[in-house]
Amino acid sequence: MAQPYSQLPRWVDYGLIPLINLTVAFLVAGLVVLAVGENPLRAAVLMVEGAFGSGDGIGYTLYYATNFIFTGLAVAVAFHCGLFNIGGEGQAYIGGLGVAVGCLAFDSVFPWWINLPIATLCAAAFGGLWALIPALLQAKRGSHVVITTIMFNFIAASLMVYLLVDVLKPVGQMAVETRPFAEGASLPRLDWMIEAFGFTIRRAPLNITFLLALITSFLVWILIWRTRLGYEIRTMGHSPKAAQYAGINTTKIIVITMMISGGLAGMMALNPVMGAQERLQLDFVTGAGFVGIAVALMGRSHPAGIIPAAILFGMLYQGGAEMSFEMPAITRDMIVIIQGLVILFAGALEHMFRPYISLFFGRIADSSLKAAPATTGEGH
């Protein structure tokens, strides 16, 4: 049976519908702000100004967006294979271990432009390997990745606490973190990029991994839509029966896809660990793995959608922090509520307005469709 709602123009599907969802999310968020006795309009202005009004604001927004691009891509690649990888949080955390191992080993040996590729490989390998066991369990035993990857998030968290406290922390130090990386593992900032637009940047840790995230997005696009592996991943994701019929080794595809997904999540660690803190700390992922799910949903699992969605969430993080600073009634938890509303409307309720919109466009397109055959309505 043909899908009745599948024939919308692309700009409606990818532009108008997300925009409507987002507007509704912000309207509802405005009601929440109103309920705690603040002015929603002023809150909105504060948020946008906080995110884009200064060089540091933009720097932080893009810094957060970098994290979300990586984790969003990780979730998207798995989505294309029909897998729901919600273990990005743990894979990114373990990816951080990879970054630290690479940097601690070579930071006083090589310059940054050799250490960055090494750290990237380590991050991707560690993240990918962390996804390997859930992948094998799914492919061979049918254990659902949603369950196993979320359990692996907890295992990752505990493992990292143990490693940082008992192994990686220098003797005699109070803070639970590794020693700071030496000069050779320090990444170039992108201050020039912000300054080119006439802003000044002081604190924001926006660094070269943002560009790496953009390049990675392009490579993921190539992988999914232009390679044989991507073709097999998509076939598997749309129809496992068709994959079987085509002679695609489904076990292999599941394992490879999950490892790519885990690797991308792991690469997220480059930004905070190597680019900002220049040491491995506890809990540096701070929910980016989960935000990646919302980013992938909103960006329709397409890199061209994931980048703006990641920037949107970067804005919510950065602008939200500024807003709660100016408006004491709006606490950090309120910001989480607003983010939750965006996820709710952009992700979970994605189809809420769709039937009405397609009905509307159906009426418009009616006259031009008269010649087309009716493809719907048979129950076969």
Binding site: S239, Q244, Y245, G247, D366, L369, A374, T375, G377, H380
Partner: protein, 512 residues
């Protein structure tokens, strides 16, 4: 009583931008059998769903027994005396007949009262309409023909005066179908009105009094059945003249290309679905496997094509053994010249969300001509798809269009083009015309015969007996996972029907 049991005026229904029903006007006389015929996607099921309250029409009026009514749910429809027998039965398999009949029509919290009431009512109904069913039998232990009778009894128990049957013969053997038609005649004599939805012209001619033809969401004609012909109805359905007979010359069988020896296939539930099946297909012949759906044909094909491992047995392709019990995989078999048009086009043969060009390489995507290194050679793939679109007249001729937006017939042509253009030595075709419009059927049949004439070995599985009889050079009948008989294309429908019901020649002789 009004003259018309059902009157529909100006019914419109659209799904998003698709108009499934356009300005439908239909009058169905009391006490008649009215056929509604049309290709897949013509809007038959949508119209009946409106009548049964599953969908609400966007505009238009419905009158039942002369009274203008609104039908907002199936409960409304039942209250108005409309009963529906669905294509896929709505029965609880592990309940008894009686429990299924009262389901949804229980009178109170305790069942004993309604059960004894239903039992006496059921006995009355069975007597009145000669519908013999054991009220205490468990549904899953009954043959499908009897299950269908339970569906009819269910509707009658709820006081149906109008009975809608949606593709009722799809799962029946020919003799079961004949029996059903006798029951429908009986119901008509008792004054019931029957609406029969089908795409089989033969059935329309056999039982209906009047027939309405639907095409692209509209009713294009209504005819008295005895004043029309199969040819005219086919032409009305398609909108142009159709060749119903398949023209083909004599076969010219060569060496054995595909040999299946003592194959047994177990399904995921652990039941042997194919039992010790042996068959040969020679170059230049079409071997048809006939049988009612679910008698092991699907599992047989899946085992031969490497999709499902067999439990035991041997398969030889071009004289070379295939490891069907273990490592055979579809990609490898394809390279050895085995092409497969699967019966489940929507989930197996195509990825509906893909562009047409992407589907035109499914299974052949590791062919070097479509690749440059690890990358897909998009240009080569699209050029190749455009060639196939032209050669197989796939419409619309756009290789970038999503496959879901093609009609059933054109989707099937995408699969055929892909599988036939690789010049295979063996072609396995499952249900080639299921859900395909009459116009495309003609084309597909012609292509299959061309493959035979080009010296390919063709194994054809179909539940459409007419299709098997007009295409196959030899017919093998499967029942309950076993081959129960083999005959030539000249076998009558009656003979095949008996075999399909599991009555083998030995049994006939024994009975005589």
């Amino acid at each position: 009583m009004a003259e018309y049991a059902i009157e529909l005026a100006g019914i419109n229904k659209s799904f998003g931008p698709v108009k499934a029903n356009r300005d439908i006007n239909l009058q169905i006389k009391q006490g008649t059998i009215h056929g509604i015929i049309g290709e897949n996607g013509a809007g038959k099921s949508t119209l009946m769903s409106i009548l049964y309250g599953f969908y609400q029409a966007d505009s238009g009026e419905i009158s039942i027994d002369g009274k203008n009514t609104k039908i907002n749910s199936s409960n409304d429809a039942i209250a108005l005396g409309i009963g529906m027998v669905h294509q896929h039965f709505m029965l609880v398999e592990n309940f008894t007949v009686l429990e299924n009949i009262i389901l949804g029509a229980e009178d109170s919290q305790l069942l004993s009262g309604s059960i004894s009431k239903a039992r006496s009512e059921l006995v009355r109904l069975e007597k009145e309409y000669e519908l013999n069913v054991d009220p205490d039998a468990i549904i899953e232990e009954l043959p499908v023909g009897i299950q269908q009778r339970v569906e009819i009894l269910k509707a009658l128990y709820r006081g149906a005066e109008i009975l809608i049957l949606d593709e009722p013969t799809g799962v029946l053997t020919p003799s079961e179908a004949d029996h059903l038609f006798r029951i429908l005649e009986q119901l008509k004599e008792q004054g019931k009105t029957i609406v029969l939805i089908t795409h089989k012209l033969r059935e329309i001619m056999a039982v209906t009094d009047e027939v309405s033809v639907m095409r692209q969401g509209t009713i294009v004609a209504t005819r008295k059945t005895d004043k029309t012909s199969v040819e005219e109805l086919a032409e009305l359905m398609v909108g142009r003249r159709v060749l119903l007979r398949v023209e083909k010359g004599d076969p010219n069988p060569g060496e054995i290309k595909l040999a299946v020896q003592n194959l047994t296939v177990r399904d995921s539930r652990g039941i042997d679905m194919v039992k010790n099946v042996s068959l040969d297909v020679r170059a230049g012949e079409i071997v048809g496997i006939a049988g009612v759906a679910g008698n092991g044909q699907s599992q047989l094909i899946e085992a031969i094509t490497g999709i499902r491992p067999a439990k035991e047995g041997r398969v030889l392709l071009d004289g070379e053994p295939i490891d069907v019990t273990g490592q055979a995989d579809p990609a490898m078999l394809r390279k050895r010249g085995l092409a497969h048009v699967p019966e489940d086009r929507h989930h197996m043969g195509l990825v509906l969300a893909f562009e047409e060009a992407e589907n035109s390489i499914l299974g052949y995507h590791d062919d070097p001509s479509y690749l440059s290194g690890p990358m897909l050679n998009i240009e080569a793939i699209r050029n190749d798809a455009r060639d196939k679109i032209e050669k197989y007249d796939i419409r619309p001729a756009n290789c970038r269009l999503k496959t879901a937006n093609f009609s059933g017939g054109n989707q099937q042509k995408i699969v055929l083009a892909r599988e036939m253009e690789t010049d295979p030595s063996v072609l396995i075709v499952g249900q080639p015309t299921r859900g395909v419009d009459v116009g495309a059927i003609e084309f597909i049949h012609k292509r299959i015969i061309e493959m035979r004439d080009a010296g390919k070995a063709v194994l054809l599985v179909s539940v459409e007996l007419d299709e098997i009889r007009s295409l196959a050079d030899r017919i093998i009948v499967m029942f309950d996972g076993k081959v129960v008989g083999e005959c030539g294309p000249e076998a009558t429908e009656g003979e095949l029907g008996l075999l399909m019901a599991g009555v083998t020649n030995d049994k006939i002789e024994a009975a005589e």
